[in-house]
């Protein structure tokens, strides 16, 4: 017991990011440039996988650097940090998906990594066929799947659909089947990304319960990445906090989570205070604060795509407004309007407010993609513009499982997500 099973030394990973290309002003210049483009493209594509340790190229971005830690057998290590702190890259290196640019990892034991559930699921194949395909993709042999097949089917709870093509499944059924396979891998070391913590509450609970039993009863080593501080505190004995690709803080979970929350709060207080610099209107009906709450009405610091979000707007008014206009305008990258929340159009019946208080806008599934948004708030009463605050608050939205399929919606595009289904014909 308590042997070191993972040893990471000075790990680093560099990526090339795109640099802005030089543009030519003249027609001749543009023409010559276009002749040179293939050569430039070739150099760019070739450089994608070349990093000299001494090079100082501007387009090299270190996603992870100088990371060293050890994990003992049977330990559950939490990895926390903000979006872009390098958590996913670290997991990808540990699970051999991508090679480190520098440093070394030593692993004793069989590793299974779940960065996504249902990788390689084919919609045309039946549930049974997909169990075998997905199981072998995750490193099992046919014999091992055979042995676990009955348990997997039972755990998934979809026995009667097991010979139906997966494309006829609901998204919830797909996730259940995928997780059932993942839950029966029985590796020495399990690496789990936060993907398991999304989906509906029941599914989350089942996943976390399984992770816990893997860790405590079976004595396996687990690396767990999550934004859910409660889950991290609950499951992990030790945690590391990543910031800008390096370890900022390491220790027992409570200390690390407290440290992270304290720092997150500082950031929050700086960023989340409403900004009323750009304010117009007659001031008879004004906003005094905005809070973001989760489904359970607890204040949150991290928003993600697909979550249930409550936006609490505190206000003050000279009278008791009836049917006022309160509009929230979400702007991506501080400029493009992507979403408008309109109290007058969306509210049934008469909206009667007190002179002072708060009103909550509920979004069942946050449809905006990951990125930075600023919000404008517009309030009107009796046809008069009473308060219009531009960029009242800036929020960062992270990737999430919008469609409830167990897959993180990764596309970074403009616009919003719309719930829909696809049928392969």
């Amino acid at each position: 017991m308590n042997e070191t099973v993972i040893k990471v030394e000075n790990l680093g990973k560099a990526y090339r990011i795109g640099l802005r290309e030089q543009k030519n002003e003249t027609l001749v210049g543009t023409f010559i440039e276009s002749l040179k483009t293939p050569f430039a493209n070739f150099k760019r594509l070739t450089n994608l996988r070349k990093f000299k340790s001494d090079s100082n190229d501007k387009d090299i971005f270190w996603s992870n650097r100088n990371i060293s830690f050890e994990v003992k057998e049977g330990e559950v290590l939490g990895i926390i940090g903000k979006n872009g702190a390098g958590k996913s890259t670290l997991l990808k290196m540990l699970s051999r998906i991508t090679e480190p640019t520098e440093g070394r990892i030593e692993i004793h034991g069989k590793v299974s990594s779940l960065l996504e559930v249902g990788t390689g699921f084919n919609p045309e194949l039946t549930g049974k066929e997909n169990i075998y395909l997905n199981g072998t993709i995750l490193g099992l042999t046919k014999k091992e799947v055979d042995e676990r097949y009955d348990e997997i089917v039972e755990f998934s709870g979809i026995e009667q659909f097991i010979d139906t093509p997966v494309k006829r499944y609901s998204s919830g059924m797909k996730v259940r089947l995928a997780f059932a396979v993942a839950a029966h891998l029985e590796p020495d070391i399990l690496i789990i990304d936060e993907v398991l913590a999304v989906g509906d509450a029941e599914f989350q609970k089942k996943c976390l319960g399984k992770v816990q039993s893997v860790a405590s009863k079976e004595g396996r080593t687990v690396l767990f990445v999550s934004h859910d501080m409660a889950a991290v505190k609950h499951l992990c004995s030790r945690a590391i906090l990543l910031k800008n690709g390096s370890i900022e803080f390491e220790g027992n979970t409570d200390d690390v989570v407290d440290y992270y929350m304290k720092n997150a709060k500082q950031i929050e207080e700086k960023d989340r205070k409403i900004n009323v610099e750009n304010r117009r209107g007659n001031g008879k009906f004004i906003v005094t604060g905005i809070d973001f709450l989760n489904a359970a009405m607890h204040p949150i610091t991290v928003l993600h795509c697909g979550m249930e979000l409550n936006i609490k707007i505190s206000y003050k008014c000279l009278e008791k407004p009836v049917n006022p206009v309160i509009n929230l305008i979400f702007k991506k990258n501080m400029q493009f309007e992507v979403m408008n929340l309109l109290s007058r159009s969306a509210h049934h019946g008469v909206m009667q407010l007190q002179q002072e208080g708060s009103i909550v806008c509920n979004i069942p599934k946050l449809p905006i993609m990951s990125g930075r948004y600023s919000i404008d708030l517009l309030m009107k009463y009796h046809q008069d513009l009473t308060d219009f605050v531009e960029d009242i608050i800036i929020i960062d939205v992270e990737k999430g499982d919008f469609y409830g399929t167990g897959q993180i919606t990764e596309f970074v595009r403009d616009g919003i997500l719309v719930y829909h289904t696809w049928n392969v014909e």
Binding site: L48, H108, S113, L133
Partner: protein, 281 residues
Amino acid sequence: MHEKPKTIIEANKSKTFFDFKEFWRYKDLLYFMVLRDVTVLYKQTVLGFAWAVINPLFQIVVFSVIFGSLVGVKPDMNNMPYPIFSCLAVIPWNYFSNSLNASGSSLITANSIISKVYFPRIIFPLVPVLSKLVDFSISFLILIGMMIYYKYQPGFNVLYVLLPLILAIVTSAGLGFWFSALSVQYRDFKFALSFMLPLLMYVAPVAFPASTVLNKLGPTAFHIYALYPMVGAIEGMRCCFSVGKEMPFNLLLIGYSSAFVIFFTGLWYFKKTEKYFADIA
């Protein structure tokens, strides 16, 4: 407690040789991915596996009408009728072309898997090379049908049938390694492959007998021509089903030599670039 495997991951030190032991551990995955390709291919079609017959059949008809009747190409396989002569080229050619096409783009198609799970990447280009063998086998029905129709009976060379087939398999796997690895980084190769395949078909002795090259350009040119492994594969296939024609062992030998060079250099390049696939796919 069972013995635990030890893995060391180190920057710039990953293995560049082929790890057969690891590959063997994942043989079941290869099997299920081939099975997936075969099951999924003709799902939700009316004709199903009949497509594996219809597609080459029409090609053979067109070749027979244009080259056999209009142009008047004479098969050099003793008394082999032109439709059988062209069938024996179209079947291996279609196998080669379909498997190389799918193999070359296999990594691009699978990029969502590549960035989420680790397993030997070499499986991706190998899957189509194996799964297209099913189509290949089914299209043999055409050959059997034609042999009955023309009352044509092949000689004992049939026993050599695996020689040209394995040559086609090795060649498409080797080129599949090259093109899949190259097109992950340079998508140009994806386009290059799709426009080169039809050209390669006209170069191969599909419509005409390989001996035309020997007669028109001489033995040196003919041996250089044989470096193109499909020459040996197609001629070999025809001789297998000919009556009394000797197997073209020289063509097969030259073809195999160049196919193995392609295969092993392809494997080397694939292993060399494999570790970057997740980053650049």
